[in-house]
Symmetry: C2
Amino acid sequence: MEKIDLAIIGSGPAGIAAAIYALRRGLSTRIFESEAVGGQAAKAVFVENYPGFAKLTGQELAQKMQEHLASFGLEIEEGNGVAKIKKTGKEFELELENRQKFAAKTVLLATGTENRKLGLPGEKEFYGKGVSYCANCDGPFFRGKKIAVIGGGNSGVTNALYLSEMASKAFLVEFMPELNCDEIYLPLLAKQKNLEILKNTQLLEVIGKEKVEAIRAKDRKTNSEKKILLDGIFIYAGLSPRNGLAKQLGARIDEKGFVKVNANMMGSIEGFFAAGDITGGLAQAVWAAAEGAKAALEAYNYIKGMQK
Amino acid sequence: MEKIDLAIIGSGPAGIAAAIYALRRGLSTRIFESEAVGGQAAKAVFVENYPGFAKLTGQELAQKMQEHLASFGLEIEEGNGVAKIKKTGKEFELELENRQKFAAKTVLLATGTENRKLGLPGEKEFYGKGVSYCANCDGPFFRGKKIAVIGGGNSGVTNALYLSEMASKAFLVEFMPELNCDEIYLPLLAKQKNLEILKNTQLLEVIGKEKVEAIRAKDRKTNSEKKILLDGIFIYAGLSPRNGLAKQLGARIDEKGFVKVNANMMGSIEGFFAAGDITGGLAQAVWAAAEGAKAALEAYNYIKGMQK
């Protein structure tokens, strides 16, 4: 069993920033990633608000962070996440999906979030058959087709702008009476002639046989329902914390499922830290990176304290 | 008097990140800068820990952030800072050094820190005559000469590495028994043959006639004093918050002079926010940028609340 100082779980901006800071402090550090490098940020069609990069794709930002990390000699193995975690004495034992085991003095959970499932009829049934949570991944399959984006925050709006460029017709469905996106996007939405915005509208059902054929939605003001024929729907209706490993450890989470941390980014278990979207912060790459940096420095302080 | 939503004071990573976020939210925003763009980060010889940029100079990072901001149409006028600030009713009145006046619904103080003065005999007298707080600015004047760097944290160490490349002889003077820098730097220090590290050593005096000629220092273990002949000293012994405008406003500061903020980055005065090193955070560019982003979003929420 390989012994390390810091096991970082998740390779989004929080995890990578933490690794950069930890390696600079001389901690033996590993990053474990169950999916692909970059976290939610990597799935963004484009990122315009990570200070220093005027505009780049989420993939490009993930790539730059990964290269930065590689300059300190650490590579990330994708698709081999942590399956099991427990604390034994002062150390943590981790078992990866490939059964490899590690003992770590500290753990940083940076598993972030995934797009929230709405739990609607048809949503699960047609996942991958017209229902998607990643326009950047699946958008190109809907060229020339009709789609709807659910959610009028920044994620929904930017993905609606992206998808309406390739779809024949796009709907943006927002539950509240107004969109909740940066105002900079409003004129861009207005320019998009094939994009129809349905405010104050609640999605009720995803309908289809083999694949998505329509959605049923309700106008919340008039209570009238309508069926919209389309080929795909992309759901950006909030974020769910990926807290499975925190639960395995018995670390405290709040009522929404985010991991509770103190001012030092430490959770309710000694030596267990969390950073980035999993803590319920700002859901912004720069915020996640900052939390990761702080958590790594605090893990360093904690390990130095253990040695005294 | 020009009326704006958000007046940002200071153009380091916190101020620039805040402006990017505020402009995206549609706030009318200005940045005021009394010196040069980029804050403390811009003075760094090199930056290796701003996630996404493996290695660049502080100036390059400042340049990239400034270009990012310019992509949203905001330019920063250097050397025209805020001279006076007061709150009248619900709004803030600001007067610039050139007497121009602004009324702002919200203010974000992002003036950061400056290197702490030690208050030693000769320190003030020989400032600019061999005493410096910025190796990146003044280092090249000491090519082939003897210098000392005071302070063995990351700032002192990176600047000692930089200066020892051009100086004939360099001393790194640390008050504590050990350096407090990232461990990654220890082998680099060891390689630098003309660099001598004096740990557990207290600087007592800067000595000279027209300009610096020597320092007097005490070995804290043996209590013996020695005089070291040299041409320049560079002081990196902690940071002092630039809190003059917070004091003018009567905003609460802590015992070290940092501005107190709540979880929304708001200070003790309604509509007055602070972000970055002035809040006494991590003194890291990515942390400052994250605080700036959050403060801007909170200023937006505050302004929306004013309109209700």
